[in-house]
Symmetry: C2
Subunit: 226 residues, 2 copies
């Protein structure tokens, strides 16, 4: 993980760098907004610590410029603890706001917290293990599915839909919700695409697809697994 530290006070930059290096992060330094933007376009940066008061290009303007194209976590640093400034910073697209003087350990904790969220992106609250629902078992470690002990071969999308439903046993998902969860998109897809996938899954996991044991439809709402 690479962190860009931006402050016109070199001492501050160096001392933050020491703490972050100690935690195993890579560090890049910049001493004003212009330099920061240059660094950002040249390097792959995962998080930025940005001072608000700086010559040439101040922190807020730098942040706004950055947000036109990128969305990495940004922690603002400022001497003022005025609430108005905090709000301005957060509204401008900052992820956090820390006032000087600050406790280095707290700053490090905040850096970790933001990186954790940033890099955990798609994988929201995923815990691996085996989900068992009577004769159906979904192993989320190795992406395998069994019905009554028999291995079932599912395509990637089929597996994802089944995992989503299995993880939330009993909860009903509308086709639209399934789409958002599995495809990670909002774009509308042909409206019975989901129905077709459901059919394929049923053909594979149900003995008699006409009388589904697991993958049930809830009229007017969507599908669920019981």
């Amino acid at each position: 993980m690479r962190i860009l530290i931006v402050d016109d006070d070199r001492e501050i930059v160096d001392s933050i760098a020491i703490f972050l290096l100690g935690e195993g992060y890579e560090v890049i330094k910049a001493y004003n907004g212009i330099e920061a933007l240059e660094s950002l376009s040249e390097n792959e940066v995962h998080l930025m610590i940005l001072d608000v008061m700086m010559p040439k290009l101040d922190g807020i303007k730098t942040l706004m410029k950055l947000r036109e194209s990128r969305n990495i976590p940004v922690i603002l640093l400022s001497a003022k603890s005025e609430d108005a400034d905090k709000i301005l910073g957060l509204t401008a697209g900052a992820d956090d706001y820390v006032t000087k003087p600050f406790n280095p350990s707290e700053l490090v904790a905040r850096v970790k917290s933001h990186l954790r969220r940033y890099t955990t992106l798609g994988s929201i609250g995923k815990q691996n293990g085996v989900i068992t629902i009577s004769g159906l078992s979904v192993n989320t470690e190795n992406r395998t599915v069994k019905v009554d002990g028999e291995d079932i071969r599912l395509t990637p999308i089929e597996y994802k839909i089944l995992e989503l439903l299995a993880r939330n046993r009993g909860k009903v998902f509308s086709p639209d919700e399934i789409y958002k969860n599995v495809w990670n998109e909002n774009t509308i897809v042909g409206d019975n695409t989901i129905a077709v996938h459901i059919r394929h899954i049923r053909e594979k996991i149900e003995i008699n697809p006409k009388e589904p044991r697991y993958l049930k439809v809830v009229w007017g709402i969507g599908y669920k697994i019981v």
Copy 2:
């Protein structure tokens, strides 16, 4: 957006609720950790504001329990401004830490900031418009691509790869990076899948795919658009 507020002091819960309702959020209330966890399993909650000091189940324990299964943003609330507490909270999986008494507007700003990041997930820094690179133009509004004025028909994946490269003109992406960006996954895919897609894109946007004008290869690293 639905926000769960948890604090054993009903006055505080109510006053926070008023501010959030004023901003157009839906609000759910809970008065201890147990209630909070119940609410979370029954409702679709997008963010939680959680007091640390509570009877029955304290904030930190509640947070840890939540993190076993879900990853929504959590803002901790506490009377103590001790750095040690902050660090403990952030390490336990909190996204932010606010000390009482707090400025309601700041709290609202932080809520907005976290929700912005949480819901902007995959769409990192997306601003729509037309990206033009000499004869090539990518319209990110309606997902269309033109070469020398001619409309080009791309498949969804082809388009995404092209948009990624066009948005970062000149930047070189390794096949692995392209994969992570376009598919939103870490799972490894057959190692020349990307190469095949690149070929298809070239067949469509280049006059002579052997001598690409736009989509160039950088030996040993990856691809870029110039």
